[in-house]
Symmetry: C2
């Protein structure tokens, strides 16, 4: 069968909008719904049908993609607002939101009881990766289902099946914890270098290609040196992810001292500087250094 599956995309915000556009560009029929309707309507010109409610969006869909802020938002849209009840049996829900692994498994179980399949498939790569179709997609769920949906994923990025339901969210939390701590490492190193009298831009140049090199040193280190802290990746999102990581780590008895430290510093950053880009952790380390 050569007809592409029909997709319902629930949550067409900062990330969902460019991801939807990649799917439309790849030829998928797509119905868009967003809580703030004008964000869904922005996709009409690219060929999306705009739906009035989650239930309306999913009624004729083969695949339902959710890209929402939190686990309870996903549950609200799927269950309280009646999206799952409006799906035909055999529909596949791909939840690309970043939520807790236990929430993902709970959603999978509740959908299975209604005859609906589920994959968790959170992403890394930000709005740039979403627009370019180069997102890292970390999936959890049934391997056959994953393979069947591979072309849908490939339209948005590079998918990896980690393991059973919830595993995608585990990988995403590992990803976020590493990102948060690496931002902290780069921030304190650049603050130190500058206070010690070395040009932080030259230090960053010298470190490129060595063992300290990373995507964070490149991109976020550049923002720290230029003092450009517009999001990007919000501090509030970073805190949410670190709180989810802390809860998940506690539930399996994993010690995450670096992520715990980062969580505290990002909370201080939010209190002192507002919801800036997460590279703004530089501001908090600099502030702490000045106050001594």
């Amino acid at each position: 069968m050569s007809t592409l599956p029909r997709i319902a995309f629930l949550g067409t915000g900062l990330m969902g909008d460019p991801m939807s556009r990649r799917l439309l560009k790849a030829g998928y029929p797509l119905a868009a719904w967003n809580r703030t309707r004008d964000k869904a309507e922005a996709l009409a010109a690219a060929g999306a049908a705009v739906a009035d409610s989650p239930a309306d969006a999913v009624r004729d869909a083969d695949v339902v993609i959710t890209m929402l802020t939190r686990g309870d938002t996903v549950a609200d849209v799927l269950f309280a607002q009646g999206a799952a009840a409006a799906m035909r049996p055999g529909t596949v829900v791909i939840d690309m939101s970043s939520i807790r692994p236990d929430e993902a498994r709970d959603h999978a179980d509740r959908l299975k009881a209604m005859g609906i399949d589920h994959l968790d498939a959170p992403v890394s790569g930000g709005t740039v990766g979403a627009a370019e179709g180069t997102l890292s997609i970390m999936a959890g769920g049934d391997p056959d289902l994953f393979e069947r949906l591979r072309p849908v994923f490939t339209a948005m990025g590079r998918p990896t099946l980690i393991g059973p339901s919830g595993s995608g969210q585990i990988a995403k939390l590992a990803n976020q914890a590493i990102v948060a701590t690496t931002i902290g490492a780069v921030a304190e190193a650049l603050v130190f270098a500058e206070r010690a009298g070395a040009d932080p831009a030259k230090v960053r140049d010298a470190l490129r290609g060595g063992f300290a090199d990373s995507r964070i040193l490149d991109l976020h280190g550049g923002r720290m040196i230029a003092r450009t802290f517009q999001p990007g990746g919000r501090t509030s999102s970073q805190i949410k992810d670190l709180e989810n990581a802390a809860a998940a780590a506690a539930s399996v008895g994993a010690d995450m001292p670096f992520a715990t430290l980062a969580m505290g510093l990002f909370r201080d950053l939010l209190a002192h500087a507002g919801d800036v880009d997460h590279s703004g952790l530089w501001i908090e380390i600099d502030r702490r250094s000045r106050e001594g």
Copy 2:
């Protein structure tokens, strides 16, 4: 003048040996000295003259390279053991050891009073980078002197002049602090993933190319997954560098909470598992997780 400057290499151990071989391969006449003489003698077959003492090694040298463990060892070899006194005026000392910035400036001042030039030029990239001639070289000192010595540096790696005397050591401490914390970030993320039931090798694969990607995730993450913790970069060296970073940071009022956390954990690792590769921080995070 086409004659290459004569080099004396003091400290031909784990790093100094392959660095000396790069210089010999590039055609530099080279006298080698090492505290344990057989390590210098290993270079004779590659064309090095083997010296009996630091003073013997440097007597005819235009450039003296020191690659030693600590700042007080460098001072001992240069001043107590009489190397500096045996140098002709106009000789250049390139100290490629990783020592404190204030020690580097002190050595530069003392040598200057004797008519000897000095550059601090610590490296990053490990034994592999030393053997391949791809070290990141972070230099501090006079720009004209740096340019004059550029061919010597280029035989060993990629040099960047950071700024005045001591700046190379500042960049190196920034480098080491980032390396130590990134190792911690990767270690705790992989311990978490495994305890949460996800295959850490697949998590690492999924994270490659995303914002969590780094040289450390690649190389040291691989060692963590394979449980191969032979040095490589020793835990004891990591602790020395973090102690130097802590001292330098305190002297300029820079807050380094992540490096401080890493220093404590590496000390615990040394106490519990011995002087393993620094990727062995995984062992310590795993141990803490098991003990709860």
